[in-house]
């Protein structure tokens, strides 16, 4: 029949059960990051992704050749730059492509008046509200002097110069 002997053994059994559950929980949850709702982590990943894409576009196909980024900036080909950049950014190893959007400026210095100007290279698309958690990535591009007579004059001037390509990148 039921009696009340061995109650401490019962309590020990309950404590052991709780410890085992807690251990299993800790082991399983070490595979994920605990920090919840923190925008720093996706920002960091997005910034690194954008930097890598710009670095890749700035790498020539052959030694001594012209990188695709240099060609696009030199020819002021904003739409082509946008397509190439987003194509690299949104690529995923499987499944649907990612949903990143971008805008870009080229900052250059007007040597005669020593003023720094911005040239709008890629205008933001309709998803831009100004409230996105956007990150900014930049890349230096060195342009050779434009030969005379020039074809279409590039907006930054004809001298040899260093310009800064600035890309705003956000997820929509």
């Amino acid at each position: 029949m039921v009696n009340d002997a061995g109650q401490l053994y019962t309590m020990e059994g309950v404590a052991a059960g709780i410890i085992m559950l807690l251990t299993a929980y800790i082991v399983v949850s070490t595979t994920s990051v605990y920090t919840t709702g923190d925008t720093h982590i996706p920002d960091m990943q997005l910034e690194q992704l954008g930097s890598d894409v710009l670095a890749m576009m700035d790498t020539p196909d052959t030694a001594g050749g012209e990188s695709s980024l240099l060609g696009l900036v030199n020819g002021n080909k904003g739409p082509e730059f946008k397509d190439a950049f987003l194509n690299y950014c949104n690529a995923t190893t499987s499944g649907a492509i990612d949903n990143l959007h971008m805008s870009a400026n080229v900052t250059y210095r007007d040597a005669s008046s020593n003023v720094i100007n911005e040239h709008s290279f890629v205008t933001p698309d309709e998803t831009w509200t100004g409230r996105e958690s956007a990150v900014r990535v930049t890349r230096w591009v060195q342009l050779d002097s434009q030969p005379w007579p020039p074809g279409p004059v590039r907006p930054y001037g004809t001298r040899a110069q260093a310009v800064l390509v600035e890309v705003l990148l956000w997820r929509a």
Partner: protein, 121 residues
Amino acid sequence: MACMNEDGQWIVLMGLLVAVGMFFLALIINQSVLVGQTTAEGVLEFPKNDIRDLRSAIFDYVDTELPDGVKEDIIAISLERKNAVVNFTVNQKMDVSGRWLHPVTIHYNNGVTVYNETVYY
């Protein structure tokens, strides 16, 4: 105190140890929340890509035989758009173990990170 006995004291003592152990595990979980945030903040704040890009821009400048105005471009745009005080000098080629290289000194300071380098390029 009738019927009180002193059996099972080891079991009670082990229970106490288990309770203390669980307290330390809870402390570890509590600390782990900070890990993701401080790591991400550290990565975001440290201008690794900026410094690498600045170095490659300066090496491009040396490669293209130091065109006029490019040094001023890099210094002025860095200050205006990157919040970084940048200065660099490229000196005459010198003999470095049988190779003729430019000594290039680079200084970078964005208020958080200071980077100085002398490189032979």
